[in-house]
């Protein structure tokens, strides 16, 4: 079974308060869903964390400007909202987007692999997340993006072209990759100008049991038996 987009939620806050950010759980999230939270914080030297729960984390950003972090977990008795904090004292611009995906199965690490990129003063055509090579079927490829000016993309183009939303310059899009292989790039298509940006591709495994590459070792001699249990 493959992941499918369910719902999202968005929040942002300005410089005027150094308090933690509270992000509502995406509406309709149920146990077993994959929850993805994409976060923007200033400055770039800050370390971002999310609670409650245990999350897989990809930290990246634009050196000298802002920090991005994408968190992934399997939903299990999720709270009504998540608290997103950082370790830099004082007031900071921050934003967060949360998505929920149905169709997950199995347990274990959810992030197959990822790739990040950043640059300053480039137009939309060049604000790409790099191509990555996924290792199995049914990977949900997530495009996680932000820029310094806070401009929202209105559409994206390339591989992960399903833009789910944008808030305070933070944006997230996705596509289900049915087969393994090179993904190609994704970038904003409209709504942004020349920007200082950072972006990532993150491939999330749908089915842990069927997602890892496995090989069946057959005996070179003798017989292979199959047992059928009849109740």
């Amino acid at each position: 079974m493959a992941l499918a987009y369910r719902a999202s939620s968005f929040v942002s806050a300005g410089n005027a308060s150094g308090a933690d950010l509270s992000l509502n759980k995406p509406t309709g999230t149920v146990d077993g869903d994959i929850v993805v939270v994409h976060v923007y914080f200033e400055p770039d030297t800050t370390t971002v964390s999310i609670s409650p729960g245990t999350w897989e984390t990809l930290a990246f950003g634009n050196t000298g400007l802002f920090r991005l972090a994408t968190f992934v977990k399997v939903a299990a008795s999720e709270p009504a909202s998540y608290t997103i904090s950082n370790n830099t004292a004082g007031d900071q611009w921050r934003a967060a987007i949360g998505l929920a995906y149905s169709g997950s199965s199995g347990s274990g690490t959810r992030i197959d692999l990822s790739g990040t990129a950043q640059a300053d003063g480039v137009n939309a055509v060049s604000q790409t997340a790099p191509s990555i090579t996924t290792t199995g079927a049914d990977r949900m490829l997530v495009f996680a993006y932000s820029n310094w000016a806070g401009n929202n993309p209105s559409t994206v183009s390339g591989t992960a072209a399903n833009l789910r939303g944008a808030f305070g310059g933070l944006a997230i899009a996705d596509v289900l990759r049915a087969t393994a292989g090179a993904t190609g790039t994704t970038r904003p298509n409209a709504g942004v100008g020349t920007e200082d940006y950072a972006a990532a591709h993150i491939a999330i495994i749908s089915d842990i049991a069927g997602g890892a590459a496995t090989s069946l070792i057959l005996p070179t001699s003798g017989r292979l038996y199959q047992h059928l249990l009849v109740r």
Partner: protein, 103 residues
Amino acid sequence: MAIVTREQGRIIEDSGVAILEYDYDDVSLLLRAIRVRNTTPLVVEVTAVKTTDPNAGRTVSRTYPANATTVQNIGTGAAARINITIDSRGRMDGVETAMRFVI
């Protein structure tokens, strides 16, 4: 003086898009309007938490109807009193805003 429209956020569904945007005076840098443009068949919920005084911590949550555009104009006097400012990048400061569909 010009009124600038800036998008705060957008949520996209197969059936359309809901956009939260605001207008501000590019000289005084004060808010002039809040607007929700919703082309989806879903109700949108927007929550605002004041992060500056006056009324820091005050929370206002409102739903916006499907397939409609809703505008709340803000008078210059009110804009000056509520202390929500616009920074040099055109971003709204003094309030935490959240947005999602109500399903």
